[in-house]
Homo-oligomer: 436 residues x 2
């Protein structure tokens, strides 16, 4: 099956940030086989022609750190200090999670991701008390691409710890290449403060034996830095390095508090960073210095975190916030310009989570792309300034169609793979069963 | 004509932040005459019953500082330093503005404002080369409420200066009570750096004689502080105080750089601040300390500035950014909680621009309100956390219906007072005539 998409402006987000104003893209076997100027000679041998009516086409957005299973907790406890928020709101409710709640929550979150243009996500979920196989089965049916990783904590008893490792190992083996490679998994120790050294070393082993990466929260708050220094006499990055974490391909979520030495170390080990600007503000963590991180050479992706600390999955808002914050803290509007910002949410974000095969419209990449119809949207006028609008004016629900692996999952703003009405109804019903 | 609105959750944004879950609101002669619990006894003598189908109802949002006539410049020159941006992009294009461009630009901006829930705005526009009467006539037809003020600069020649004052005086007299009070105007000297003391004193005189307020940009950048100190040996706030500006009801836009003494002075004189968080970030100005300003007692409204430095008029995004930034800079998630943030965009914002008669759903206030239908929106689930979602998850185009003076101006997301298709087409055509 060979499909050609015509009559659109293709924002390739390749290294040169090329745009093909009246472009053409050909997709075969889930991959892009041609992208460029409109060329009638390429229309031979085509099974299907899709006229995109002058829309803008972008690679699908990449959300490099989320917790979709927590979507039902949106708005449960805002404006609270981290400790009482976790201890009196989030954890007590998470403990009540059933497989049904986790599945519905994940579908609700992915519904929002898909409809706002996210085609690839990298997620951590707490497997306690739920049937992970069922949850990932439901996620697979949505059509989204990504890595769905079980969070690993240190446990109070050795027996529990052993059981957790065993489950992590089983899950990793089973899902590292799932749904024809569309879904994968990483080993996800929660953080240097919630995992003891033994746990972290075991995580490295599981990651190594299964040839997968590591996804971990690091250097999110000043409190964390102090706690790790108190426990181990070194800061979190050095602590993880000593334990061998960085021997695996690693993506750290947050990295709000990093010094020059740490940035250099991350670059040396090829560690990537998932930057969560809104969550970092909302929880009062602070503002990460992404300009310095990029200047050091570290690959940075953009991420929403969970909607309990965001509170939506709108990646357009997230990229915009990332760009605005760097300009603000540097007092320099030339920092973090449009094309850089958009590349972190697409091509470079995909690289950051080890999925180089998506994130830009280039030959041999997966056909993961989104369309926007700007013609009837007053906030995207004048049309001629399209690139600017994509960063500074667009919002998630400007997205019209979404394709993953060349398959349409959202059409004219309606999700084709999730029953929207059912998921919303179930989510509200299940939320009613949780006591907070 | 007496209309009752039933079957809705009314977020009154009154001082107590009352919500009437299954509430009722009665509107007569453009004003609210009842708001509270559903009461069948109040249904006597009603001309029209409107069933809102369970939607959320909020007061219309108040944008306390904008430049709608610049809307056509959206996306023209991002990521640039302020000086080259103004000198090579904005000013050269503004000089080419005709009355037609100004009118279309204003309509495009107001179209976006209305559709995203802004019912009241306070605006500054550059009258050079355009017929201000025609522009305000077009604005009046949109149904929006607000203050539309001519920006006054110091001129190079005395003759030009005299003509400008004469025009400012004429405009102020004519429009201080226009469209049955729905539109008004203020005297708007651009800033302490673009107006010499003589100009500022003359502005005070015009404001005093016409009994209107003053709207002025102040303390936006560190460079401005230095420039005023160099010229006058005092910082901008003291400079304006000495010239008598604060004897008039005054709203200053920005106020990014204020010290304790200045905050106390603003409070003492009852000066209000229009806070533009996104514009201040995007232009690299910095982050205003709004928590301190509020603690001092100063009234603060939220504002977008022009879309050349924002780049949209989405007030939901603006309030959210305001709240997130204060939490981030204070590293404290309890700062700037939901209800405070929403009140600055509604009741307190209206007070900030001297329009206490709107901004909340209370008896005797103007019937300016908006509705949101959360039921089909995945990012507003679970429904039970409505207050949180209004600040942290909603976006402008979640707005369904908009009423001003009890008159419906947006219905189901379609603007009834502006021909959307025509304005968008004209805007693009006219943008094409500008050389940049």
């Amino acid at each position: 099956m060979k499909t050609v998409y015509v009559n659109a402006a293709f924002f390739t987000m390749n290294k040169k940030n090329q745009i093909f104003e009246n472009g053409m893209m050909i997709v075969e076997n889930q991959s892009i086989v041609y992208i460029g100027q409109h060329d009638p000679n390429k229309l031979i041998d085509i099974d299907q022609v899709v006229d995109l009516g002058g829309k803008w086409v972008l690679p699908g957005l990449v959300n490099t750190h989320s917790h979709v299973v927590m979507t039902l907790l949106r708005g449960s406890g805002d404006d609270m200090l981290l400790k009482p928020w976790l201890e009196t709101k989030i954890w007590p409710m998470e403990k009540q999670f059933t497989t049904e709640i986790a599945s519905t929550s994940a579908q609700l979150g992915i519904l929002e991701m898909l409809k706002t243009g996210t085609t690839t996500f990298s997620d951590m979920f707490n497997p306690n008390g739920i049937d992970s196989d069922e949850v990932i089965h439901q996620i697979s049916k949505t059509g989204i691409r990504g890595a769905f990783s079980q969070t690993i904590f240190s446990s109070e008893t050795r027996m529990e710890q052993k059981a957790n490792f065993k489950e992590a190992e089983r899950f990793t083996k089973k899902y590292k290449m799932f749904a024809k490679g569309r879904l994968t998994t990483m080993v996800a120790p929660h953080s240097p403060y919630a995992c003891n050294p033994e746990t972290l070393i075991e995580c490295v082993r599981i990651a190594e034996e299964n040839d997968v990466g590591i996804h971990i929260h690091v250097s999110e708050t000043e409190g964390e830095i102090l706690e790790i220094e108190n426990r181990y006499d070194v800061r979190p990055i050095e602590h993880l390095r000593q334990l061998g974490i960085f021997e695996r391909p690693t993506v750290i979520a947050h990295g709000v508090f990093l010094n020059d030495e740490e940035r250099a170390m991350l670059n040396q080990y090829g560690v990537r960073v998932a930057h969560n600007p809104i969550s970092n503000l909302k929880l009062g963590s602070g503002i990460a210095d992404i300009v310095s991180l990029l200047e050091t050479g570290v690959k940075v992706g953009i991420a929403t975190d969970s909607v309990a600390s965001n509170n939506n999955f709108d990646m357009f808002e997230e990229i915009r916030t990332a760009a605005l914050l760097q300009k603000g803290i540097y007092k320099d509007p030339t920092k973090f310009p449009v094309q850089l910002a958009l590349s972190l949410a697409t091509r470079i974000g995909a690289q950051a989570i080890g999925m180089e095969y998506t994130g830009s419209l280039e030959v041999n990449k997966k056909a993961d792309f989104i369309t926007i119809n700007p013609y009837n949207k007053e906030h995207l006028q004048p049309i001629s300034q399209a690139y600017s609008h994509l960063l500074y004016a667009a919002r998630g629900n400007d997205v019209c169609d979404v394709y993953i692996d060349g398959k349409e999952v959202v059409k004219d703003g309606i999700c084709l793979t999730i029953d929207e009405e059912r998921v919303i109804a179930e989510a509200n019903e299940l939320k009613g069963t949780l006591s907070s």
